[in-house]
C-alpha cells in the first residue's frame, strides 16, 4: 500500500518542531474543565545559554534538558480530499520535523513565591 506523503517545503526548509516531555500529568483545576482549550499551561524558559530549561506549571517548576531524538519524527497533517462517490482521497502533509525533545524527568520544585520568567521557547 502506498502512502503518499507530500512535503510542500523543500529539503532543509522544513519547519522544526519540538517535544516537551513531562514525567507526570498536567491536570486542570477542577473549575476549569469547561474552558480547557484556552488555558495557559505554563511558562517554558531557558534561563541561561545552556541546554537547561525550566518549565513552570502552576506552582511547580520543572527543570529539564534538551535531548536529541534517536529517530527524528515528522509531524503529519492528514488532509482529506473528497472526490467521487466511494470515499475521499487522503493526503498526508508534512508539517514539521522533530529532532529534539525537552525532557523534564526530575521531581518538580514547589514555588513558594511567584516568579515571572518571560523567555519563550526558542528552537
Amino acid at each position: 500500500m502506498e502512502i503518499r506523503v507530500r512535503c510542500n517545503c523543500g529539503e532543509g526548509s522544513c519547519e522544526e518542531w519540538g517535544i516537551v516531555e513531562l514525567q507526570g500529568v498536567v491536570e486542570p483545576q477542577p473549575g476549569f474543565h469547561d474552558s480547557l482549550p484556552n488555558l495557559h499551561i505554563g511558562t517554558l524558559c531557558r534561563p541561561s545559554s545552556q541546554e537547561v530549561y525550566t518549565f513552570t506549571v502552576g506552582y511547580h517548576e520543572l527543570t529539564g534538558s534538551k535531548v536529541p531524538l534517536k529517530k527524528p519524527l515528522v509531524v503529519l497533517k492528514k488532509v482529506k480530499h473528497p472526490d467521487g462517490e466511494s470515499g475521499c482521497k487522503v493526503e498526508l502533509q508534512v508539517v514539521g520535523v522533530i529532532r529534539h525533545k525537552i525532557l523534564f524527568k526530575n521531581r518538580p520544585k514547589a514555588l513558594i513565591s511567584k516568579d515571572s520568567c518571560e523567555a519563550t521557547y526558542d528552537p
Binding site: 500500500m1 502512502i3 516531555e21 513531562l22 514525567q23 507526570g24 500529568v25 498536567v26 491536570e27 486542570p28 483545576q29 477542577p30 473549575g31 476549569f32 488555558l39 495557559h40 499551561i41 505554563g42 506549571v57 502552576g58 506552582y59 511547580h60 520543572l62 503529519l76 492528514k78 487522503v90 498526508l92 525532557l103 524527568k105 521531581r107 518538580p108 511567584k114
Partner: protein
C-alpha cells in the same frame, strides 16, 4: 683572715665555719662594720645588769654602712631631741648626698668614735665611684637608703690591707664575749631610759613600770620563732618548704651555684645541730641572721671568682650541666594550709628569710582587688629593689581564702602569671642559665611571668576560690604539733615571763585550743596581765582568744552525736555539761548553715544505736526537729532574725538525748536534696504539660488537685480494657466510637505515648518491658502518682494498641493544626475578631467549608470532617472515625496531609472572591509528578487509520 680575726671568733665556732667556707672580700666590709660595733661596745661604759629580754629580731643581715651609722647614733650620750635637731640642721645645710650627711653627723659624734669612722670613709673614697666604668676591675654596687648608688672597688689585696689597718688601728686588746646585738639592745635601752629620765625630770614621780607596760610586746611576736630550728611546726613540712624555696635559687639568684647552696646547707645543718645542742647555753644567739647573711655573701664570692678564674668554656660547661638539674620548681606556688595558730605564716616568713629573701606579705587586710593586687604582685615578683634591701623578694599571700571575692582576684592573677610562664618555658630551656636570667629580666616588662617564689597561706584548703590554685600549687597541709612540743614551748615562755603555770594546765590549754599556739600565748599573756593563774579545770570559762573559724560540718555532726569523756563528766558533771553546752553552741552557731546541720541530724539520727526501747528518745528527737522546722519557717516568714540564736539549741538537745560514746557513722544528708530536685523536676513536667493542655480544659485543673485526685482515674480512662488491639477495619461501630473518644481525650489532654528506654521507667509501669523498649505516657503522668505503696491498678494497654493510639493521636493533632490554620485564615479574611470562645471560629470554618464545597476534590472528605465536627462539637470525638474512613482511601499519611493543607488553603482563598479569581488565573493547571521512569505512551496505530 688573720689571726686576730680568728681569735675574735673563737667563742662562736659555728660562725667560724662560715667564715672559712665563705671567705671573701665583701663580707670583710661587713665584718669591718661589725668590728666597729665591737669596738664601740668596748668603748661603752659598762652596761647595766643583764636584761632578761632576749634579743629582738635583728635588722636585715646585709646591714649597710649608712644604716649602721644611724644605729651608732643611739650610742651617743646626748639627749635625743638635741641630737635630732643637729641632724636636721646638717641636712638643711649640706648637700643631700648620704656620704656628706654621714660625715657631717660624724663631726658631731663623740671623739672616740671618730678615728675608726673616718678611717672607713677614707678607705672607701679611694675605691668608690658613682660610675662603674670609672673603676677598673671588679666592683660591687652599694645602694644608700635614699636611692644613691655607688660602686665600690673589689680587690682582694686592698681589702686585706684595710682589715689589717683597721685591726691595728681600732682594736684594743679587749674582746667582748657578748654578741653584738645584745650590746646594741642594751645601748638602746640605756638611751631610752636616759631620754625618759630627761623628759620626766620636771615631774617628781618617775613612772617606770607604766612605761614598760606601754612598751611591752605581744608575747606572740616576742617569742615568735626567729630561726628555722625554732619552728614548732612539723619538721617534715618545714624541710619541704625549705627545699621548695631552695629550688628557686637558680632562677632567683641567677648563676647561683648548686655546690654553694649545698655548702651552706651542710654548714647550716652542722650549725643548727650545734646550736640545738647548745641551746640552753646560748639561746640568744641570732642564728638565722648569721645563716642567711653568709649564704648571701657566698653567692657573690662564687660568681665573682668564677668570672675571674676563667676560661669561658669551662663556665659554660658548668652552667649547662647545672641547668639540667636546677630550675624553678615544678609548682611555682606553695600553698600552706591548716588550722589557725599552727605557725603557717611564721614558717613562711622564717623559711623565706632563711633562704635569703625579703618577705613581702599581702594580708587579708590589704586591698585585694584584682587590679591592685596584680600591680603589687608584679612589683614584688619582677622588680629588684633599688633601695637598701637588695635581697630578692618572696611574696607571702596570707589568708588567700579569707575574703572570697577579693581572694579570688589574687588567685586569678597568680594563675594568669603561671599560665603565661608555661608558654615561653619551652623556648627558654635551651638557652643557658645566664642568658635566661638576662632574658627574663628583659622580658619582664612584657610578659608577666612568675620569677619569684610565692607562698600562699590559707585555712581551708577546699575553699571554692582556691580550687584552680590547688591544681597548680604545691600543697602542704599543716598538722597539729604534738601537745608535748607545744607545751614545752609554753612552759619555756612562762618561765621566761615569770608566770606560774603548771604543765597540766598548759597541756589542758593546748588541748583546748587544739595546739593553737597563738591563742595559747594570747591567753597566757592576758592572764599574766591580770595577775591570774591558769586554772586547769575551767579553761573554757576563761578568756581564750580564738580565731573565728568554722569547722567542717562533718565534725559538727560528729560532735553532736558523739559523747565525750564519760568519766570526767561524771566526776564534775555540772561543769562538764556547761562546757559541752557552750562548745557545742559556739560550734553550731559558728558554722552558720543550721539547715544543713539539722538535715544531717535528721538523716543520721536513726542510724545511731542508742538504747531506746520505748521509742521515747526518738520521739523527743523528732519533736525537736519539728520545733526547729517551725521556728525556722517562722523566722523566714517574719524575718525575725534575732530568733536565729535559738536554732542551735535544737542540735544541742538532740545531742543530749542521743549522743553515744562510740563513734557515729555519719553520712552526708542526701535525701532532702534528692527529693527536692525530684519535686522540682516533676513540677516542671507538670507545668509544661499544663501549658500544653488547651486552656478551656487546663483552667479547671490545679496542680495539687490534679495530682491527688485526677491522675489515677485519668489513667483508668486512658487505658480502657474494652478496646481490642486489632486493625481498625475490624472494629465494630461502638468500638470505633470508643477509640475515637479515647484519641480525642488524649489529644485534648496533650497526652501521647512515646518509646522510652526501659531502664528509665523503672518498674513503675508494669507494662511489657521485655524487649527493652516500651511505650509509655508522655508526659509521664503515671510518675506523678508514684507514691509509696500505692499502685493505681489501671489496665495497661498492649504495645500494639499503644502504637495504634500514637498514630491516631498524631493524625488528630495534625488535623487540628490544619483546622486551626483554616480558622485563623478565615478570621483574617472576614476580619472577625475572635472573642476566645471556640464557637465563633467554628462558624467560620463552616462558611469556608461550604464555599469550598464548589470543588469536588479529593479533600472533600477532610472538609467533611470539618463540617461534621462543627456540626457537633469540636471537642467531640465522633469525627475521628470519619477521618479514618476518609484517610483510608489515600495511599499514605503524608500524602493526605499535603493535600489537606493545599486544599485547605485554596478553599480559604476562594472564600475571598477577588483573590480567588487571581489564583485561578494563575494556576489553572497543576502538574502532578509520576514516580518512576518516564513512560511515553506508545500505542500501536494501523496504517489504515492514517489513510481513512
Amino acid at each position: 683572715m688573720d689571726v686576730e680575726d680568728m681569735e675574735m671568733d673563737i667563742p662562736l665556732p659555728d660562725e667560724l665555719e662560715f667564715l672559712e667556707s665563705n671567705f671573701h672580700e665583701p663580707e670583710q666590709n661587713q665584718e669591718e662594720e661589725e668590728d666597729h660595733h665591737y669596738h664601740l661596745a668596748d668603748l661603752e661604759p659598762p652596761a647595766e645588769p643583764y636584761s632578761p629580754q632576749p634579743p629582738p629580731d635583728l635588722e636585715a643581715p646585709s646591714v649597710d654602712i649608712e644604716s649602721s651609722g644611724h644605729k651608732r647614733s643611739r650610742s651617743s650620750s646626748l639627749p635625743e631631741e638635741e641630737k635630732r635637731a643637729k641632724v636636721r640642721v646638717t641636712v638643711q645645710e649640706d648637700s643631700s648626698t648620704e656620704e656628706a650627711a654621714d660625715e657631717d653627723w660624724l663631726r658631731y659624734s663623740p671623739p672616740p668614735q671618730e678615728p675608726a669612722a673616718q678611717e672607713t670613709t677614707f678607705a672607701k673614697e679611694k675605691t668608690l665611684s658613682r660610675f662603674a666604668s670609672e673603676i677598673d676591675g671588679e666592683c660591687m654596687p652599694i645602694t644608700a637608703p635614699n636611692g644613691d648608688r655607688v660602686y665600690a672597688k673589689l680587690t682582694r689585696f686592698q681589702g686585706e690591707e684595710r682589715v689589717k689597718t683597721l685591726d691595728c688601728n681600732g682594736y684594743s686588746a679587749e674582746l667582748s664575749s657578748e654578741p653584738i646585738n645584745v650590746i646594741l639592745e642594751r645601748l638602746e635601752q640605756e638611751a631610752f631610759a636616759k631620754a625618759l629620765e630627761a623628759s620626766s625630770e620636771g615631774q617628781s614621780v618617775p613612772d617606770v613600770p607604766e612605761a614598760q607596760m606601754v612598751n611591752e610586746q605581744l608575747w606572740v611576736d616576742k617569742y615568735a620563732p626567729k630561726s628555722f630550728t625554732e619552728l614548732l611546726s612539723d619538721e617534715q613540712t618545714n624541710r619541704e618548704v625549705l627545699l621548695w624555696l631552695k629550688q628557686w635559687d637558680s632562677v632567683v639568684f641567677g648563676s647561683e651555684i648548686r655546690s654553694t647552696s649545698d655548702d651552706v646547707l651542710s654548714a647550716l645543718k652542722r650549725h643548727s645541730s650545734i646550736v640545738h645542742n647548745q641551746k640552753p647555753l646560748n639561746s640568744k644567739f641570732p642564728r638565722k641572721n648569721g645563716g642567711s647573711k653568709w649564704s648571701n655573701g657566698g653567692r657573690y664570692v662564687n660568681s665573682v671568682s668564677m668570672d675571674e678564674s676563667g676560661s669561658s668554656k669551662s663556665i659554660q660547661d658548668a652552667w649547662s650541666t647545672k641547668s639540667r638539674n636546677i630550675g624553678p620548681p615544678e609548682q611555682k606556688i606553695l600553698l600552706l594550709c591548716g588550722p589557725p595558730g599552727l605557725g603557717k605564716t611564721t614558717l613562711a616568713h622564717v623559711a623565706a628569710k632563711h633562704c635569703g629573701y625579703h618577705v613581702v606579705e599581702i594580708n587579708a587586710s590589704d586591698d585585694r582587688s584584682t587590679s591592685t593586687i596584680e600591680a603589687k604582685i608584679l612589683d614584688v615578683v619582677q622588680m629588684n629593689s633599688v633601695l637598701s634591701d637588695s635581697r630578692p623578694k618572696c611574696l607571702v599571700v596570707d589568708e588567700i581564702d579569707g575574703a572570697l571575692g577579693d581572694g579570688k582576684g589574687a588567685v586569678e592573677v597568680l594563675l594568669k602569671m603561671i599560665s603565661s610562664e608555661r608558654k615561653p618555658d619551652a623556648g627558654k630551656q635551651t638557652v643557658g642559665k645566664g642568658q635566661l636570667e638576662r632574658k627574663s629580666s628583659k622580658k619582664g616588662s612584657k610578659t608577666t611571668s612568675l620569677s619569684r617564689p610565692v607562698i600562699c597561706i590559707c585555712n581551708d584548703l577546699y575553699a571554692p576560690a582556691l580550687r584552680p590554685l590547688r591544681q597548680v600549687a604545691k600543697v602542704h597541709i599543716f598538722v597539729q604539733p604534738t601537745v608535748n612540743r607545744a607545751v614545752s614551748r609554753l612552759t619555756y615562755i612562762c618561765k621566761k615571763e615569770g608566770m606560774k603555770a603548771s604543765a597540766i594546765a598548759l597541756t589542758a590549754l593546748a588541748e583546748y585550743t587544739e595546739c593553737d599556739i597563738r591563742s595559747c600565748l594570747n591567753t597566757l599573756q592576758f592572764l599574766s596581765k591580770k595577775k591570774e593563774d591558769l586554772n586547769v579545770f575551767d579553761i573554757g570559762s576563761q578568756v581564750v582568744g580564738q580565731k573565728d573559724t568554722s569547722k567542717n560540718v562533718f565534725d559538727i555532726w560528729k560532735e553532736i552525736f558523739h559523747k565525750r569523756r564519760t568519766k570526767k563528766s561524771e566526776r564534775k558533771s555540772h561543769r562538764g555539761n556547761s562546757f559541752d553546752f557552750d562548745s557545742l553552741y559556739s560550734l553550731v552557731s559558728k558554722r552558720g548553715d543550721s539547715d544543713l546541720i539539722l538535715d544531717g541530724i535528721h538523716e543520721n539520727v536513726l542510724r545511731l544505736n542508742y538504747h531506746d526501747p520505748l521509742m521515747q528518745k526518738t520521739v523527743k528527737c523528732f519533736n525537736n526537729l519539728g520545733v526547729y522546722d517551725l521556728l525556722h519557717q517562722y523566722i523566714v516568714h517574719t524575718h525575725q532574725m534575732s530568733l536565729y540564736v535559738y536554732l542551735p539549741l535544737v542540735a544541742i538537745t538532740v545531742h543530749h538525748i542521743v549522743s553515744q560514746v562510740q563513734k557515729p557513722n555519719i553520712e552526708w544528708p542526701k535525701s532532702y536534696q534528692r527529693y527536692r530536685t525530684m519535686m522540682t523536676e516533676k513540677m516542671d513536667i507538670l507545668n509544661n504539660w499544663h501549658h500544653k493542655i488547651p486552656p478551656h480544659i487546663a483552667r479547671h485543673l490545679s496542680a495539687s488537685s490534679f495530682v491527688e485526685d485526677l491522675i489515677s482515674p485519668l489513667l483508668h480512662i486512658l487505658s480502657p480494657p474494652t478496646i481490642r488491639p486489632v486493625a481498625l477495619q475490624l472494629l465494630s461501630d461502638t468500638e470505633k466510637n470508643d477509640l475515637a473518644q479515647l484519641v480525642s481525650k488524649m489529644v485534648s489532654y496533650a497526652i501521647t505515648y512515646k518509646t522510652v528506654k526501659s531502664d528509665m521507667l523503672h518498674q513503675t509501669l508494669k507494662s511489657e518491658l521485655a524487649d527493652g523498649l516500651a511505650l509509655s505516657f508522655v508526659p509521664p503522668i503515671s510518675d506523678f502518682i508514684n507514691f509509696k505503696d500505692y499502685t493505681s491498678n489501671h489496665y495497661v494497654l498492649s504495645v500494639a494498641m499503644k502504637q495504634l493510639l500514637v498514630h491516631e493521636v498524631e493524625k488528630h493533632k495534625i488535623l487540628q493544626v490544619g483546622v486551626d490554620k483554616t480558622r485563623a485564615l478565615a478570621n483574617e479574611g472576614h476580619e472577625i475578631i475572635e472573642t476566645g470562645t471556640p464557637n465563633i471560629p467554628l462558624a467560620n470554618t463552616n462558611v469556608v467549608a461550604r464555599k469550598s464545597n464548589a470543588n469536588p476534590t479529593i479533600v472533600s472528605s477532610n472538609l467533611n470532617t470539618d463540617k461534621s465536627s462543627s456540626a457537633k462539637d469540636i471537642g467531640k470525638p465522633q469525627n475521628v472515625g470519619n477521618i479514618k474512613k476518609a484517610t483510608r482511601s489515600s495511599s499514605s499519611f503524608f500524602d493526605r496531609f499535603k493535600k489537606v493543607n493545599i486544599k485547605g488553603v485554596e478553599s480559604n482563598d476562594r472564600s475571598l472572591p477577588e483573590e480567588a479569581i487571581l489564583e485561578k488565573d494563575r494556576y489553572p493547571l497543576l502538574f502532578k509528578y509520576n514516580e518512576g521512569f518516564t513512560n511515553a505512551v506508545k500505542r500501536p496505530v494501523r496504517i489504515r487509520e492514517f489513510l481513512s
